[in-house]
Symmetry: C2
């Protein structure tokens, strides 16, 4: 078919041009990263798998990179952003649910009791949210998220949450894509909470967002086909759920994985268990001044087992404090 | 960031070149389609949504097209290909499962009793398969599919099943992509049965295959992280399940949908219920000579309610007999 052949010809030309441009500009990639081990190892990995004559070459179709979201691509302190949204939603819905007063998850949320929330885990809280927005059409739910994101502000930075994206990670995503990678989010959060802003913030389209899944069912309302939300979660994309989400939605083993907490451990394990060159990276939150300092003892984004495994397997551990010139996209460069 | 900016520059150049090439070659697109209403309406739709100055313009990010697989992109007669594979798998596994002798689904499969199979629906048969391959790692299951596809032959055409792809639909997929669309499969079949060959046959990568999902769980075996298959299906991507699968995995309402049976009705309804220009197309199997002739009374690929709706809503109904010059990719052109 002529159309296709001609188009492919153009695409090949573009690839060649892009390759020249990227190769030439390689050294200026990742400008918000300080020179050091982390940056050097990232660049070495990308060069190795992109070098068609090298022993570590990986075909572009297999260059799949997966990123955790909370704490890896944007801030998760003092509370997962989706939880802040949920709390607002639950507060709104509470008068219709007097039975919640005795629910431990609602009590912990209402009291901002992080220790209790951490003990409970994500499940009971996601279930409460499921009840709160059960029956809504997916369109109405999407609207409520977009509205909230417009007006909500982070308590510390007083900025919209969507500005709390890490500049160095944004650059890393773009750098990988410029080198033929496909980039995916794989998050414990709900897909619908990330999709409205992931494309603008990260360059990641909705179909490349993998996350937890609430029940959704098809029905006809006034002769119009709609999808409505059920009260339960069908799938929690966290911890051992992450490799399952990757298998279901991506269908390929990633060659690079990026996380920051124990919830990412299994995703990093599955990624590095594949044959050939692999990249595993953990963002360590050690910058209490520009962001937050937390790891083994944290209720949110606990980094304990995954840190031990990172050390024993020589995964890259990024120090936000010393590896990053900038942290947030809105931030000025370090003097 | 310089790398990215340069790369985007190249991409834009490629788009411009591709656009010129595509616009010039537009008239030679879809060479296996006869001139007629179906082809004309497809081309008109694609031009309308791609014309950045027209009232029907759709941004490339929203040009999502979804295709049913069985009976829409490849042959489904005399039996869904996945069922043939399953039958072979079940026969192999039967000695370990004497209890199946009294199972109606196994009896119907073993007797090739299409009427009984149609009555039972997909669910009990998928459940049997779930038991047969439960406990296997996803890697081993993938191997068994690839091995089978290499050796199995279609009873009528005596060719590998992967050659039973419809040439005009292959062209249509490429034509849409050349015009900025992203193309997805949305099938009642299992994702793992399509992914091994969908890229070569259709140009559709694994993450753009939406389908039914069997239970999968993460575990460590001999210190290696693996995913193993459970006995049940978590999700059946058929009928009202298709819009759910689209919502979960694609996260956007398609602007074009292509099917051939009642199992595609809800997908077509949801697609056409969106605002703006939409395309809904049904492949009608009316070519008993080159392929098979079946519709309202068929046990496989029954086209009844969706046909009525297509007529009342003026969706495109493609006659394989008169709209297609070629049917299969291996076939010579009609004299």
């Amino acid at each position: 078919m002529r159309v296709v052949r001609r188009f492919q010809g153009c695409a090949a030309l573009a690839c060649a041009l892009a390759f020249v441009a990227v190769a030439g500009a390689q050294d200026s990639a990742l400008p918000s990263w300080n020179e050091g081990d982390a940056k050097r190892r990232i660049v070495e990995f990308v060069r190795a798998v992109s070098d068609s004559k090298g022993k570590d070459f990986v075909a572009p179709a297999d260059r799949v990179a997966v990123f955790d979201n909370d704490g890896t691509l944007w801030s998760e302190q003092p509370m997962y952003v989706q939880f802040v949204f949920m709390l607002d939603q639950l507060k709104k819905a509470a008068p219709q649910h007097p039975e919640w007063k005795s629910n431990p998850a609602f009590q912990a949320l209402a009291a901002h009791d992080k220790a209790a929330l951490a003990k409970l885990g994500q499940k009971p809280i996601l279930e409460l949210l499921g009840i709160a927005n059960g029956g809504m059409t997916v369109g109405d739910y999407d609207k409520s998220i977009r509205e909230w994101l417009k007006t909500a502000r982070h308590p510390k930075y007083q900025r919209p949450y969507t500005e709390l994206v890490y500049k160095p990670m944004q650059e890393l995503l773009a750098y990988l894509r410029a080198n033929g990678f496909r980039t995916f989010i794989v998050s414990g959060g709900s897909v619908e909470f990330m999709r409205p802003w992931a494309e603008a913030a990260y360059g990641i389209p909705p179909e490349q967002v993998v996350g937890s899944q609430q029940e959704v069912k098809f029905e006809m309302q006034d002769d119009k086909p709609v999808l409505t939300r059920g009260p339960k979660f069908d799938f929690i994309d966290d911890g051992p759920g992450k490799p399952v989400g990757i298998y279901r939605q991506i269908g390929k083993r990633p060659i690079a994985a990026f996380g920051n907490s124990d919830g990412d451990l299994q995703m990093l394990q599955v990624t590095t268990a594949g044959e050939g060159k692999r990249l595993a990276l953990i963002v360590h939150h050690d910058d209490g001044q520009r962001e937050s300092a937390y790891d083994r003892e944290s209720h949110i984004g606990k980094l304990d087992k995954a840190w031990d495994e990172a050390k024993s397997k020589d995964w890259i551990v990024v120090s936000m404090k010393s590896d990053w010139k900038k942290v947030f996209v809105f931030e000025k460069e370090k003097p």
